[in-house]
């Protein structure tokens, strides 16, 4: 006797309990602490902060632990939490020229004011598994040098002085907020940058890579890549001036792109821009390439139909929370629609058979 499936609620509760057990794993192994995740899985924490659009390393660490290391799931937890937070105010724009840099490199100049600082990078590591880590060996202390105080000027500023790179005039208008207004096309550059900086690292990486392989090539050089901490300041109306309320770690990438000029613009270098929470170098570089590719229209370039030039395509598909939700929803029951398709196919087949028989 057929009995309709009941007990959905109990099934859900049991699944959650099992999930919690699985998350914990073997209880004989010590449980991960949030400081361990925050300190030792820092790049995962950074990605969750960047794509979650919330700078809070402790919450990101919690999300990673809760999500069992599934970073998209962790980003989702942060996003859902973020939307519930009250908005108490807006900071003044951060000044990345005042960044306390851990890393700062330029590919376009051998040396430059402020210096090249390699910083803690994987770049020149040989990718050999380090079995000493498996034995929980202590890392030797790195050499120390006194910090060089003072501003670190942007490379693009040097080019700008000579008029060799496009002018980027300061604009104090408040940009639209992607999380508070529905996306509308065409989207201006601030809106596009907001979407890309929280977009999926893999998607943005692939889009950027496609431009390098000729799908909307932009001839990018890394004019400068810098990683470090900047102060966040807020205007306090009662005081009449801005005060520092904290600091955030950022990765900023500015590309310098060869440009032969177009119908509307003279020959000069142009810019692509990437700014991402945390140490997120791959994402920041990719972001600056995609930003530059999306600027074809304002620079009077041809649209060759490359995916990375298509703002509607990039902006509607870069968000991994939207993408994963919609992708995975097809595992929800669809038997009502499937039933209507079944009947349609049966009917069409029956008609086709009848016609075939009549023809024979």
């Amino acid at each position: 006797m057929y009995v309709a499936v009941k007990g959905g609620e109990r099934a859900i509760d049991n699944a959650h309990a099992w999930l919690a057990e699985e998350r914990r794993g073997d209880p004989a192994v010590a449980e991960l602490t949030l400081p361990q995740i925050r300190e030792q899985l820092k790049l995962a924490v950074n990605r969750v902060m960047a794509e979650g659009s919330l700078f809070d390393p402790d919450l990101a660490a919690l999300a990673i632990k809760q999500a069992r290391g599934d970073l998209i799931e962790a980003i989702f937890l942060i996003r859902a939490y973020r939307t519930t937070l009250p908005r108490l105010g807006t900071s003044v724009p951060v000044d990345t020229a005042q960044m306390a840099v851990d890393r700062r490199i330029s590919a376009t100049f051998k040396d430059l004011p402020g210096g090249q600082v390699l910083g803690p990078t994987f770049d020149y590591t040989h990718r050999l598994l380090d079995f000493a880590l498996a034995a929980e060996g202590e890392a030797p202390a790195a050499a120390k040098a006194p910090a060089t105080p003072g501003p670190v000027p942007h490379v693009t500023g040097f080019l700008n002085r000579d008029g060799l790179i496009e002018e980027e005039p300061r604009d104090d208008a408040t940009p639209a907020d992607l999380t508070r207004t529905p996306l509308e096309l065409p989207a201006d550059r601030p809106l596009r940058l907001q979407a890309i900086t929280r977009g999926d690292e893999g998607f943005i990486l692939s889009m950027a890579y496609s431009t390098q392989r000729g799908y909307g090539r932009t001839h990018a050089f890394v004019g400068e890549l810098r990683i470090g901490r900047v102060a966040v300041e807020m205007d306090i109306p009662e005081l009449g001036f801005a005060v520092e309320i904290g600091e955030v770690e950022l990765t900023e990438c500015e590309t310098v792109n060869q440009f032969k000029g177009s119908k509307t613009e003279p020959p000069q270098f142009t810019r692509g821009y990437g700014l991402v929470f945390g140490k997120t170098e791959r994402k920041a570089i990719a972001m600056s390439l995609v930003d530059r590719a999306l600027r074809w229209k304002e620079l009077g370039e041809d649209n060759i139909g490359a995916p990375a030039q298509d703002a509607e395509f990039v902006l509607y598909h870069c968000d991994n929370i939207q993408a994963t939700g919609f992708l995975e929803h097809i595992k929800l029951p669809h038997y009502v629609d499937f039933q209507s398709e079944l009947e349609l196919v049966r009917r069409l087949r029956a008609e086709a058979m009848t016609m075939q028989e009549a023809a024979e």
Partner: protein
């Protein structure tokens, strides 16, 4: 059950007041322009996109403490996602819930319209995955918006006509497009086309929420809703040519259930409340057992 809003952890019906106002304004504009998709700043909800976030936001913006909420998925109250959404509102809004269509004041649904006729005072909230009926003909939002503006629906008619030329009938069996009040072509959400006739001249307020796509639209009560068709190929609301094997209903939408490896099948009402109601009233189908025997 812990009522989260009473502990102060979350606001009544989860969303903050400003978000609810924004959604409410969009709903009212949707009601004023039936079938037109109003953009709204959809929020990230604590459930995945594609799982009813649009419907949940619309429901959250409509709920009052006195409401009695029904949530169905595939016509059933006990499917897991329906259970999950119902539980969410019990926890965050403390509202009463029901499985009985006639008792509900707000019904959130995915893929079905209840068989029991709706009445004034009820609101039906549809979960919508892709609100744009023209999307599968034209992927660009910039283009489809222009098509709605100019009432340029020729592409849709061409597609439907091509179906007829190839298959002898319109090969769309769910999410069948409709025209609302003679103006906007609208996606009725992926309900089977069997349900389309219930959209028009309905006593209830029908609201549609698409969270990921950031759109809300509405069909007010007693509104003209016409399924697109051609004079020589009129629209027909089809269903499996069977009666319900449990309650014997002749006119309800049926699920086909495979009962063994030999290909045996039975057909049962997709609307579980409707079927249970009929059986409680003594109706018995081909394979059903009278309710008095204590069996379903």
């Amino acid at each position: 059950m812990t009522e989260l809003f009473e502990t102060g952890a979350y606001n009544f019906a989860y969303l903050d007041e400003q978000t609810k106002r924004m959604i409410r304004r969009a709903i009212l504009k949707g009601v004023a322009v039936p079938g037109y998709q109003v953009p709204f700043a959809s929020r990230e909800m604590p459930m995945p996109y594609g799982w009813g976030t649009g419907g949940v936001q619309v429901t959250a913006a409509c709920l009052v403490p006195e409401d009695r909420l029904k949530v169905i998925d595939q016509g059933a109250d006990d499917t897991t996602n329906a259970v999950s959404i119902r539980k969410f509102f019990q926890r965050t809004a403390g509202v009463a819930v029901t499985e009985a269509t006639i008792e509900a004041t707000v019904i959130q649904t995915r893929h079905r319209i209840p068989e029991t006729p709706l009445r004034e005072g009820q609101i039906v909230v549809y979960q919508v995955p892709i609100p744009e009926p023209l999307r599968f003909l034209e992927p660009r939002e910039t283009e489809t918006r222009k098509m709605h503006e100019l009432e340029e629906y020729g592409l849709m008619h061409v597609k439907l006509y091509e179906d007829i030329a190839r298959h002898g009938e319109i090969a769309t069996s769910y999410a069948y497009p409709v025209k609302v009040e003679g103006r906007y072509v609208m996606d009725p959400s992926p309900i089977p086309k069997f349900d389309n006739p219930k959209l028009g001249d309905n006593a209830a307020i029908q609201l549609f929420g698409a969270g990921r796509e950031q759109r809300i639209y509405a069909v007010p009560p007693y509104t003209r809703v016409v399924s697109l068709d051609f004079d020589d190929h009129p629209f027909t609301a089809s269903k499996a040519p069977h009666d319900c094997d449990l309650c014997g209903a002749k006119g309800s939408y049926l699920d086909e259930v495979i009962t063994d490896d030999a290909g045996s099948r039975m057909y049962v009402c997709s609307d579980t409340d409707f079927c249970a109601g009929r059986r409680a009233a003594g109706h018995v189908g081909r394979l059903g057992v009278a309710m008095a025997d204590g069996s379903a």
